[in-house]
């Protein structure tokens, strides 16, 4: 009986460490430089995603906006929050770019074209990025300590899908839905270099 207790205790300890402790330990967390509220901007300023996260002329995606974009509205405080004031003092006035931490920055070997997905396949931003656009706070940036990947890319359940498996599943589904010869059929599983570089 006694020996079984030790085995059981060990088993529980192992399970606990693996399921509860490990996912916490594997990620390092860093806060974003500024507590930006997507919600406030969407509600008050009526901004849409593409107002700030737009495309360049050649079709490439511009990603996180630079300080110019922020400064075009926030050259002087628009509201009265302390966050905005400190943002202006720290970044806008001295002209210092905030070092945003990109949740969704794909690994170097991944080729991802925003315009193909947004313009051609008509995907909504939230499909991959989740409801970031309506969040009031920026969640901390979590990075896998071993692989160095962002949690969004190489994440846990409950996160928006950005792992290779998620890409593959979506492509497979849309390929299955689409008729042969259409764009959706092109989206199916093909060569590695279709999505890698």
């Amino acid at each position: 009986m006694r020996r079984n207790i030790f085995i059981a205790v060990g088993l529980l300890a192992g399970l606990g460490a693996g399921w509860a402790g490990f996912p916490r330990a594997i990620y390092s967390r860093r806060p974003q430089p500024v507590d930006f509220s997507h919600k406030v901007h969407a509600d008050k300023a009526g901004a849409k995603c593409e107002d700030c996260h737009g495309f360049r002329e050649d079709g490439s995606f511009a990603g996180i906006p630079t300080l110019d974009k922020c400064a075009s509205c926030h050259a002087a405080p628009m509201g009265s929050t302390a966050t905005e004031k400190s943002f202006i003092d720290t970044y806008v006035t001295p002209g210092r770019e905030p070092q945003w931490l990109s949740y969704a920055r794909q690994p170097e070997n991944v080729y991802f074209s925003h315009i193909t997905h947004v313009k051609r396949a008509q995907l909504k931003c939230a499909q991959c990025h989740g409801d970031e656009g309506s969040a009031d706070h920026l969640r901390p940036f979590e990075q896998d300590r071993v692989s160095g990947y962002s949690r969004d890319i190489w994440g846990a359940p409950g996160r928006p899908g950005m792992k290779m498996d998620d890409c593959v599943n979506c492509h497979r589904q849309s390929a299955a839905k689409g008729a042969a010869g259409t764009l959706s059929a092109q989206a199916g599983e093909r060569g590695c270099l279709d999505c890698h570089k």
């Binding site: 030790f6 085995i7 192992g14 399970l15």
Partner: protein, 588 residues
């Protein structure tokens, strides 16, 4: 009480528990992912991708270049109207070459030059050696030298002519690398299908390999063939010197006359080569008079071009060598006797590999594509209508601090203000209201007279090219007397032949692929020899010429004729290579 056994049980249980969690599997996957971006693998920068246009400044051909830039940083270069040579393709690497010079003591060099100028012995001269004459910077130097009392402007002397391959029916190339670095490749290859190429060369060069006919002449006898074709030397004498059959030479001469328009080209278009072309009736058809782009009137007071041979021995108190743009250098052995015992030599250079080795002061110069400048008119003209040109090498990246522009240095010494020289010259061109401007971004050509100066200048700075119109007066050029045929003596049993004489001293680190990671080119310090030369592969030897020595390693190659040693062009070789090409090998 827990026993050791219990601890084992606990450990076993927890190991089993851990196996049922994601932890071990995740770690296995994570380490595999880590191997994708482990330390030491650089990440390319990301950002907006733009195209910028410029002209390649690595040789006088000045090919039009489209640079693909991430943000401001060029990441690849491509020709606008055709391919580029490998040097041009990798030009954007030069600023990062590990051997690049970054520091120099400019005040000290300036003081030394000032002292040499002040030392006003009447037979003492201050000279500038310009490897690529005809640029605005060259004009600035000439103006500065004219302002100095003892200034001499040294540059390779060439008759003012350009070559137009387009109408040519037959081309006789006397060892010129016509298909391999002779003018801009897009112009050469566009015309290539129109002419029959006869290459007379001892070595089967890249051009010889692709020529319609390759005449394997005796090394050094190319010019005899030229004379024979022009009729200044008898067939028998030519046959003896070249090792070809008399009938063969006669056949070449006949095909040049019958399948015209004909053209004779040589590595340097000297007066003599021009004379042969005149004799063939090529003047005005395939060989055209070349004019400078218009100059501001106030520049007319400029020092004349002096050939090195005309400089008295021991007369140079100061020599400034402009190596900031590559060009065919003069052998140091020919320069050195002209220097006074206490001469100050200042080299403006990218690296210590070239003249910097002999200089008392070395000042780092900006490399292509860091510096703004213009290019001398092209040797190979695109067509009859437009020969003279004005093109800028627009910088793609900013030069680091501490670089010295030779022209600016010299104008400071001479008390000349030449800051706006390029703009002044552009204004002069614009004022002449001739020719047309071509812009690469939109591929448009517009007449200069329709443009405002500001637009003209802006377009030039965005990689535009001005093409003047040729005025073919039909006047024959003034020709210098022909030099005697060099004759190799007994102590120099070999002829030295080099590959690619125009290669810049510093090339992109990636260029080593051509000789280290493949056998495509002869690597530096390698000497190709005929297998019968008595050397074995890899043997080390000293290459000697009347001008110096250099250590090399033998590479056997059946395509190299007996009696010839083929070496890769390097600054060391440039130093010891004489015009006569005499050499011998001494085994170590």
């Amino acid at each position: 009480m827990t026993t050791r056994r219990d601890l084992f049980k606990f450990a076993g249980g927890s190991a089993m528990g851990l196996l049922l969690t994601p932890a071990p599997w995740r770690l296995i996957t994570d380490t595999a992912l880590w191997s994708e971006n482990w330390p030491g693998i650089p990440r390319p920068a990301r950002g907006e991708i733009r195209a910028k246009f410029t002209h390649c400044g690595l040789c006088a051909a000045g090919c039009a270049v489209r640079a693909r830039c991430v943000g401001e940083q060029p990441v690849s270069l491509a020709g606008v109207e055709g391919g580029l040579c490998p040097f041009g393709v990798t030009g954007h690497h030069l600023p990062y070459h590990p051997e690049r010079l970054r520091h120099g003591n400019r005040p000290e060099a300036a003081a030394a030059v000032a002292r040499a100028i002040a030392n006003s012995a009447p037979d003492r001269r201050v000279a500038v050696l310009d490897l690529q004459p005809g640029r605005t910077a060259s004009w600035t130097c000439r103006r500065a030298l004219a302002a100095l009392k003892n200034g001499v402007y040294l540059a390779p002397e060439e008759p003012a002519c350009a070559v137009n391959l387009a109408p040519a029916g037959t081309v006789l190339s006397l060892g010129a690398p016509l298909l391999d670095g002779w003018g801009s490749p897009d112009r050469v290859f566009r015309a290539r299908s129109g002419f029959r190429l006869i290459q007379a060369e001892a070595v089967e060069s890249r051009t010889a390999a692709l020529a319609d006919q390759w005449l394997a002449v005796q090394p050094g006898s190319e010019s005899v063939l030229g004379r024979a074709v022009a009729g200044t030397v008898g067939l028998r004498q030519a046959a003896e010197a070249t090792g070809l059959a008399e009938a063969q030479i006669a056949e070449v001469a006949r095909s040049l006359r019958e399948n015209g328009p004909a053209l004779i080209v040589a590595p340097e278009m000297t007066s003599e080569v021009l004379a042969w072309n005149l004799a063939l009736g090529a003047w005005g058809k395939t060989v055209l008079p070349r004019r400078e782009a218009p100059l501001p009137r106030e520049w007319s007071k400029a020092a004349p071009v002096t050939p090195l041979a005309a400089v008295e021995v021991g007369s140079l108190g100061a020599l400034l060598i402009d190596e900031s743009v590559p060009g065919a250098p003069l052998p140091w052995a020919a320069i050195q006797p002209k220097l006074a015992a206490d001469a100050v030599v200042v080299a403006f250079s990218w690296s210590r590999a070239g003249y910097a080795r002999h200089a008392t002061h070395v000042l780092p110069a900006a490399v292509y594509p860091e510096a703004l400048g213009d290019l001398p008119p092209a040797l190979v003209a695109p067509s009859v209508g437009s020969a003279a040109e004005f093109r800028l090498t627009v910088p793609l990246v900013a030069a680091p601090d501490g670089m010295t522009d030779p022209a600016e240095f010299l104008s400071a010494v001479a008390g000349l203000d030449a800051k706006d020289a390029l703009r002044q010259r552009a204004a002069a061109i614009h004022a002449a209201a001739r020719g047309s401007l071509r812009t690469y971004a939109d591929g448009k050509t517009s007449a200069v007279k329709d443009l405002k100066f500001d637009d003209f200048w802006k377009a030039l700075n965005a990689g535009g090219s001005w093409m003047g119109e040729v005025e073919n007066s039909g006047k024959s050029p003034h020709l210098a007397p022909a030099a005697p045929i060099p004759d190799a003596g007994d102590p120099w049993p070999l002829r030295l032949s080099t590959t690619q004489p125009g290669a810049p001293a510093l090339v992109s680190p990636l260029m080593t692929k051509l000789w280290q990671e493949s056998g495509l080119r002869l690597g530096p310090h390698r000497a190709a020899l005929n297998p019968r030369a008595g050397f074995e592969e890899g043997a080390r030897a000293v290459l000697e010429t009347p001008y110096g020595r250099c250590e090399i390693q033998a590479a056997l190659d059946g395509s190299v004729p007996p009696g010839v040693v083929l070496v890769a062009y390097t600054p060391e070789i440039a130093d010891i290579r004489g015009a006569d090409g005499c050499a011998r090998l001494v085994r170590i």
